[in-house]
Symmetry: C2
Subunit: 339 residues, 2 copies
């Protein structure tokens, strides 16, 4: 900037003003300076600017990882959510800082705010750490969480209506004749816990007793799911439908069921969760509960920004919708078998 000032024969303040488009500076000098900057491929140093201005337009997006499984970032749903966030943030001119932190040290996330690296934080998934998040909220860290709305929650969440989603999926399975619906997913995770409540609701409403044995708290890991299916078959625990906590899980389950020689949807009906892009192209095409991914990114960003604008923190429940496809259709009048 000093260079430009020298070359243009003006002071740095003028250059600063010119580059900021201030009307205080002569239109002609302004153009001359702009031209000079362009030819020098100069662009303003954002770090210094932020320091001086005392603000920042970077939003940190945090994806916790489970230190046990040390799993890579791979679930298509979360990945898509990141994509959606990237789009939403870019649209509003914000930078997105993507970080992974140990799920047991979620409080580290606050560091990104305290060190001034980010103006606010989007947390993807709340894991088991409701308490840590509440603590962060008390500290005044601006953040939003993708996840479930929990009692005594001091922070804002954006998420689908998991209880309604669980209810919809399960009611649909029961309505189409299923009597023993396997629930696959770890109910310790708040979102999944709510889906399980919906599962229970639907059973109660339909007057079908729910067998506790049918609730299988498997983690999101592929091998565990296949293992679980095998083990159920060996122990002769019968089931005629599966409600899986994610489409990825549902697809893995279907693959395992097929290996076990079962037919879909005649022998077992399956409903997943998320409605990832591939769900419609799977075979059989996968019934699922749609989470509106594109809206999700927008809603998260909007919530965070309104919070930063000083508005009251407010959680958002996004619409949740059952998408019925072949994997749970009673009459498999669908495409012919192509195996």
């Amino acid at each position: 900037m000093a260079d430009i000032a020298r070359l243009a024969g003006v002071s740095v303040s003028t250059v600063s003003r010119a580059l900021a488009g201030s009307t205080l500076v002569n239109a002609e000098t302004r153009e001359r300076i702009a031209e000079l900057a362009r030819s020098l491929k100069y662009s303003i140093n954002v770090g210094a600017q932020n320091l001086r201005l005392g603000h920042n337009n970077t939003v940190a997006v945090i994806v916790p990882y489970d230190p046990q499984t040390r799993q890579h970032l791979s679930d298509p749903f979360f990945l898509s959510l990141i994509g959606s966030l990237a789009d939403a943030l870019t649209e509003r001119g914000h930078d997105m800082l993507l970080t992974r932190v140990d799920a047991d040290r979620l409080d580290q996330a606050a560091g990104l705010y305290h060190t001034g690296r980010a103006m606010g934080i989007v947390l993807v998934g709340q894991w088991h750490h409701h308490d840590q998040l509440n603590a962060m909220a008390v500290q005044g860290v601006p953040f939003v969480v993708w996840g479930a709305q929990l009692p005594q929650q001091l922070y804002a969440t954006v998420g689908g209506d998991n209880r309604a989603g669980g209810r919809l999926a399960t009611a649909h399975l029961l309505a189409s004749g299923a009597r023993r619906v396997l629930f696959m997913g770890d109910p310790e995770l708040p979102e999944i816990g709510l889906r399980l409540q919906g599962y229970a609701d639907a059973h109660a409403q339909a007057g079908v007793p729910a067998d506790a044995q049918l609730v299988r708290p498997v983690p999101f890991v592929t091998e565990a799911i296949q293992q679980e299916v095998r083990s159920l078959r060996e122990r002769h625990i019968g089931f005629d439908a599966v409600f899986a906590a994610s489409d990825l899980m549902a697809m893995t389950v279907i693959s395992a069921l097929r290996q076990a020689g079962l037919h879909l949807p005649e022998d077992v009906r399956v409903v997943g969760y998320d409605d990832i892009a591939l769900a419609a192209h799977f075979h059989p095409s996968l019934s699922t509960v749609r989470q509106p991914i594109d809206t999700a990114g927008q809603a998260l960003v909007r919530s965070l920004l309104s919070q930063l604008a000083g508005e009251r923190v407010q959680s958002i429940l996004l619409d949740t919708e059952l998408v019925v496809r072949d994997s749970s259709r009673a009459a498999a009048a669908s495409a012919p078998c192509a195996a």
Copy 2:
């Protein structure tokens, strides 16, 4: 920091030194200061630190978007690559800035470097803009590209061996008896262009003439692919195999073929590209050319860092491997039909 200095009864420099763990400062004062900082939940302002130090440990990851289709970030392969990059960067203590830019304005990417927001850039996909990238390299912007190695390339790329991959896939299809292999993908994209060359190589080696009509330059868009399959059928352009430029495409094609009443792999064999997580669980399980995603993130980061360390820019070709599954298996001795 000034506050801490006051409270500790020392000068800011001492605090700075103490927090940096300098041995120059008395161990006891150092501990006292650290304690104070902790209780005040103070952490160093990274922006100011970077400004002073004149460096920066943020790496920008750029995913171009096609302004025509304005597509959202959704291909599982690219999303996984982002996940892999996030993991690789976190592991080395770097921050990851995720940005989308207009594919026609790739030069904007350089701005992230020039404005000091990032120490270097990872570009995911080179699109049609080899020239713009070369220009960036001449400017001295440190960056790596995920993509194909091109002639007269002044920048570093990391990518799979696309030509070998195309050859492997096509040779496999031809060897299993296919004679009319549809190629689906836009060969204008460098990576896909190379896969098409591999496709041609394999035909030449096998002594099977390649029909130019069978090369279908469809974009990555789902609807376009379904449309294409319909149109081919209507025009009675026959084919007995498909080599798709991505698994996502392959899955869409399979879904469209099934709707058309065709059987896999008896009527048509299909091979995809990427080996995304779901490929193995698809039905029929999808034959594909594996791109080593986990290695990819690591390799990109390593390449960028070594470039920043002043080493000579060097492109990396990652191993590429054919994974044969049911979608292209001659004897469909696989799982029973479950539709």
